[in-house]
Amino acid sequence: MVESLQYLAEGFAVAMTAQNLLYCLIGAIVGTLVGVLPGLGPIAGIALLIPATFGLNATSALIMLAGIYYGAMYGGSTTSILINVPGETASVITCIDGYQMAQQGRAGPALAIAAIGSFIAGTVAIFGLVLIAPPLARAALAFGPPEFAALMVFAFVVLSNVTGKSLVEALMMAITGLILGTIGMDPVTGNERFTFSSPYLLGGIEFVAVAIGVFGLGEILVNAAKPPAQLEQRVLVPHLRDLYPTLQDLKRSIGAILRGTGIGFFAGLIPGPAPVIATYASYAMEKRLSRHPEEFGKGAIEGVAGPESANNAATQSAFIPLFVIGIPFGPVPAILLGALLIHGVTPGPLLISDSPQLFWAVVASMYIGNFILLLLNLPFVPLFANILRVPKKVLLPLIMLFCVTGMFSVNNSLLDIWMMLGFGVLGYVLRGWAYEGAPLLLGLVLGPKLEVAFRQSVMISHGDFGIFIERPVSLTLLLLTLGFLVFPLLKRAWELLRPTAGDGATPGSPQ
């Protein structure tokens, strides 16, 4: 712990250099823009900006990309509150009470409490990170291929269980991603697979093309499908003087902020779209604990403070599994893993001991980034809100142009643009089916790792699958996986047996 704090201090020294502060600031600003703009969430936003980091060293690159990630989380809440359109899925919940507050002329306090809550959550989460990451890395050193294989299977099933409406649909998406991940060179023998003799496919499917296509272009096309009259929304731009919350607002929010932080931090440590789950859980909890639950849905400030804090804490703690085990548990960390690999950094149990400078500098930069965002968001929110006044029929073509340009700059390849377009259409079709893209992206990124871990495991054991259940860690993970697969079936059977049971237990969803 003391040693960690010492490293953290050194991390701050690295992160505080003028150059890294600048990248942190750029990341935070660009991230906020990405969060505010329609059609660009954190996933497509980070993917688009990976090429911009090519000239930087790995630490600065990651500082900037992480800045984009939590900047987008802030920006996403801004649109939720001001125009009732969540910038990304983690701010869906904020729409409920945030937009109500805005309609009552309290957009300022809603935005401010979101920023303050996020800042407090970020501060607490950083200490959690310092406490948990190093011992977890030491424990993960004992992981062999069977443990990694079991952990990835566990991650897929849990992610599939908590995204979207149907486990089967999400699992189909995960498997589709895994299949796409097998295209290219076989990671074990070097054989060509599914390349149809094309040298372009030999290196595998470019994950940036999938990320921008499915998440960016898919969203643009959903907007383009709307009739012109439905495309624009009314924007409530708050005045600076109305921005600050009252003492009573703060008093009502502080409990929600702290509880949200706790929920968010632990949600980030388990597989799944942590920020999304954390916001739902926090909202449900605040509503249950509140002395005036009837205000929820009508502009209760706790309904903004709790989820926004949870969202931010989860965003930060989701870095722990990525850095410490080397396995991203959600789509955004998966993109960051891709970016790290491009920069020649392989995250895993050895990262903290091998490149402590990178790890601790990034952790420190998260804290600085949160501070920058607090400063950036409180006075400048009206400025960002004005971007929302630009009509979407102008924004969408511009974002499309950025996507094309950004995609080209990854490998200077026209084929990548075609690939991105193809996945964009796929993303649109998937949205029509109400399928989730997150398991697909995670499958694509983790596919090769899972295959190598699996094949190494059975090679070690000479074809004996017992290796997966003889080792306590992988056995535990597989049992948990089984539980997650069987539980929905049991629940279903229970509901069928008791058809009268109501389904009113789900927390409120916007409209």
């Binding site: 089967v168 299949i179 709307k226 073509p397 499309m400 094309v404 699996f454 000479h462």
Partner: protein
């Protein structure tokens, strides 16, 4: 239902193509083993999902009638998306011969028209402005080696 069928077909194609690769044995799985298993798993899930949807059909349609206001616009939506995608495809196809700056201008112009900017001179001004700014930022400042074509 279309979704389940598409998924099933994709799984089947994967499984069949994997059979052309060396499958190996359990003690030494070959290149085809992992994708073959995935293909089979996808087929099984899709089939199960299809059956599940088929059994739940009468209830599902009843629910859809009451809660999907977007459905009647389905046709117009497909047309708009198809136009939008066609515009992008045309611009990307022209990227190599015409160069980045000119084709980005055309892309903007086409998409602005498709999304329903009424006055042609506003479209023209916005498209021209974005093409020039993008040229300055991406080609001059960031020096991305974008196709230069005949013009710029």
């Amino acid at each position: 239902m279309g979704a389940a069928i598409s998924m099933f077909v994709f799984g089947a194609i994967t499984a069949v193509l994997s059979l052309q690769l060396p499958l190996g044995a359990l003690r030494m799985p070959g290149s085809g083993f992992f994708p073959f298993t995935l293909g089979l798993a996808l087929m099984a899930l899709a089939a199960g999902h299809g059956i599940q949807l088929h059994l739940a059909r009468p209830k599902a349609t009843a629910r859809q009638d009451s809660a999907s206001p977007a459905a009647p616009e389905g046709k117009g939506a497909t047309r708009r998306v198809a136009l939008f995608v066609a515009g992008v495809i045309a611009a990307v196809a022209l990227l190599q011969p015409l160069g980045y700056t000119l084709s980005s201008f055309l892309l903007m112009l086409a998409l602005l028209q498709i999304l329903g900017i009424r006055r042609w001179y506003s479209s023209l001004a916005i498209a021209l402005g974005s093409a020039v700014v993008c040229h300055i930022v991406f080609v001059r400042l960031l020096q991305i080696p974008l196709p230069s074509g005949w013009v710029f």
